[in-house]
Amino acid sequence: MTSLVGRPVARVDGRAKVTGAARYPADNPVPGALHGFLVTSEVTKGEVTDIDTSAALAHPGVVAVLTHRDMPRLTVPPFPYLKGFIPMQDTVIHHAGQPVAIVVAHTVEQAHGAATLVAVRYRAERPRAVIDDAAESPYLPPPFRDRRNEFQRGDAAAAWAQAEICVEARCSSATRHHNPIEPHATTAQWDGDRLTLHETAQGVNLTKGVIAAVFALQTENVRVVAPYLGGGFGAKGPVWSHTIINAAAARILRRPVRLVLSRAQMYTMAGHRSEFRQHIRLGATRAGKLTALLTTTTAQLSNTDESIFNTCESARFLYDCPNLHIRQEGVRLDVATSSYMRSPETTAHFGLETALDELSWALDMDPLELRRRNHTEFNQETGQRFGSKHLLQCYDLASRAFGWSQRKRRPGATKDGDEYVGWGMATEMHTFAAMPSTASVTVGLDGKAVLRVATQDIGTGTYTIVSQIVADAMGVPLDAVQAHIGDTALPVAGVSAASATIASVCGSVDRAARAARDAVVRLAVADDRSPLFGVPSDEVETRHGHLIHTRNHERRDSYRAVVSRSGKPVEATGSVPNLPGLSYGVVFAEVRVHARLGSVRVTRVVTAHDIGRVMNRRTARGQVIGGVTWGIGHALMEHTVYDRNTGRVVNPNLSTYLVPVCADAPPALEALFVDEPDPGSTALGARGFGETPITGVPAAIGNAIYHATGRRVRDLPITQDKLL
């Protein structure tokens, strides 16, 4: 039996991606498509009093300029439409950059040019965009999707008051934007009441449901297509208003319309990680055992929704602590709706892992030892033992590879040239989601397998891993498998967000492939033209595209021969409901801080993760190197700046909103895995993983900066000015 699963197989979509052949949603040719471009509000709060479209309409090539006066009345859809309102349904302005008109023209240039000619008048009020300017105190929002914002066990306040050692910290984090390289793109094509969207969607089926609700369509009349995605990081999980407005325009004009957001528009129209405050208190015994954990977080909310995305899962589940009180609060501000952004728990986890580091210094205890002492094998809320948790093994693997035992137990003890050198660590944890899925596998007359499942590949390696699974399950070479994903016309699967893809599709893909294999075997043994005629099915094994008698290898047939003789393709399906869960790990980081300039370099990182079975070490490592560098961006550079007078984002671009570039990535990075299949997994032993390896990185860097310099910075990002 060949075994591809678990091996570092090269990406099957590699050739398409390195030759430019891969068609992303904005690349797909749609004959006759017009180009749309949004005009967005220049004010942050108020209303539109007048829109003069005449100059724009007179611009050559312009077909239409549509405003709230032209839009049909639409239904605000449920999750994952987060915005709470649909722009251009009335004149109210809730945030800067809110769409107020759409220009539709024959070319991109005409649409962009004419958009500058739409004259909009506003009545503007003074906005409040940042937490410091909030008019009201933070409040506890109602549950978001039935998920509470307050958690308690034991008596945390009393335990804190009686604790032998106490640590209290106030942390903050700036607003962040996802910034996938591919801007959001949508192309709407109507055929009567049927709508096809070529959409940058992390969840084609989620998008389908939302759009059907907006336009009151039968869901089967909506098709969403996204075979490739140029990055999502959460930004393309929810449905955003530009998709709705563009589809409405296409319906009005009875022509396909394509709309691509500008980079600047992505800072007001497609979600963000909220500005965030955290007050955290830890109580512990002198032996380092946690007795109390209290944390209150404050998130920047919009005026039209009150969803909290940056939640405190790690405080709830990661460590053994009998007394806990979490409050996830928010303040209403005149900003666009926030959303999930890669590793939402990172924001609050920074506070926990920073406070633990501070506790370790207060106890004069190695921070890794402190974490070991608070390790738990039990779910703190249910009391049940975790089926599979190898975090202690992660600690051992990574600390050894990093050389952690050589750490000096004094801040500022190591200087190399002009730079102070420091080491820091943090535990990592991510709660991954899982959705039910169905997959189908068809074996064609050519003996090749076609897999169909409406999941997505957002860069994490879905195409490759599902192909590996089919090849293994059927006993065919990898190049005999073709995977079709990213289209609602395929069997239903869930969203590629919350690290859910692997956890959601591996089981059903495997079942479908095994069922297809079994069906072909049954055909062979029942066919008197087959060398396997009359052999019991369970005595046939499949390898390299062949069906072989287990006891007499001379008796063999092939997928191609069996299926072509039967004259029609063999199809089978598989469905699995799937289960969410937890993935774990640890990150050790070395930083160098320039003594006079305060600049920080992350020079060496070692991680170890427990993600159940590693399906493909190459793509798994890709998630680690990407995640670590995302953590560097989060810790050291990324921050969206609001003008407090106007409420507008002042750095909506990639030259002033800094994301890590090649020179910022750690030159030395070692990604280790425990690689123990999770017996509770419905995904061939694998767990969801992709977001795990960011979660601890910002704290590990902050802790390393403290170790290097003795300076504790709790406000992210830790820009140079904060260390001068």
Partner: protein, 208 residues
């Protein structure tokens, strides 16, 4: 105007005008469904904009000459993507910050969103679609697959074109040098260590 060797992908002035007429005819047949009549242009729609402003140019892309009629404001990037259907070159920011649209112009890497198509007449333009030799991938493309130097692929065409030039420029003497000279191309999946490894691999092969 020179004859294009690729009539299917290179609209001539005649085909542009023909599609204009078809679009205009289509528009008149459909009753205007918008209640506010002022929302839809009263003028007959055109495709290529005001014909008097459009310019006829010939672009040499991947060894093929393409005749096209574009407004002077059309960027090389949009000419490649929207006129020549060469969508391998990606638009990430449209202002020269991300590098996703990097192409080679006369052998040098440039950001195609920051140059106008009309400025590049007479230049030899190479896009990611023009790197491979038939089925045989360019060594940089092969190294990117071997080293897993991409995830979503959104920045990859730009990274690869940049890498080809980086190697030619001789900026691959060390990993540190590659890190610096490949920093004009953002990879938001942050596959950077693998990109450095791929560029180093391909550079070594080039030195043979």
């Amino acid at each position: 105007m020179r004859k294009s060797p690729h009539p299917a992908t290179s609209p001539t002035r005649r085909t542009v005008l023909k599609s204009t007429a078809a679009a205009a005819a289509g528009a008149t047949l459909v009753p205007n469904p918008v209640s506010a009549a002022s929302s839809v242009s009263a003028a007959a729609p055109t495709t290529a904009g005001d014909a008097s402003e459009a310019v006829e140019i010939t672009l040499s892309v991947n060894g093929h000459k393409h005749a096209l009629t574009v407004e002077p404001r059309v960027t090389l990037l949009d000419a490649l993507r929207e006129r020549l259907a060469l969508t391998g070159t990606k638009k990430g920011c449209d202002r020269g910050e991300c590098g996703a649209c990097t192409v080679l112009v006369d052998g040098e890497r440039i950001k195609s969103c920051l140059t106008l198509a009309v400025m590049r007449e007479g230049s030899a333009i190479t896009t990611v679609e023009g790197l491979a030799d038939g089925d045989r991938l360019h060594p940089v493309q092969e190294a990117f697959i071997r080293r897993d130097a991409f995830q979503c692929g959104g920045c990859t065409p730009g990274q690869i074109m940049s890498a080809v030039a980086c190697i030619r420029e001789g900026h691959t003497g060390s990993e540190e040098e590659i890190r610096q000279w490949m920093s004009g191309n953002i990879c938001r999946c942050a596959c950077y260590q693998n990109i450095v490894a791929a560029v180093a691999d391909a550079a070594r092969e080039g030195r043979g």
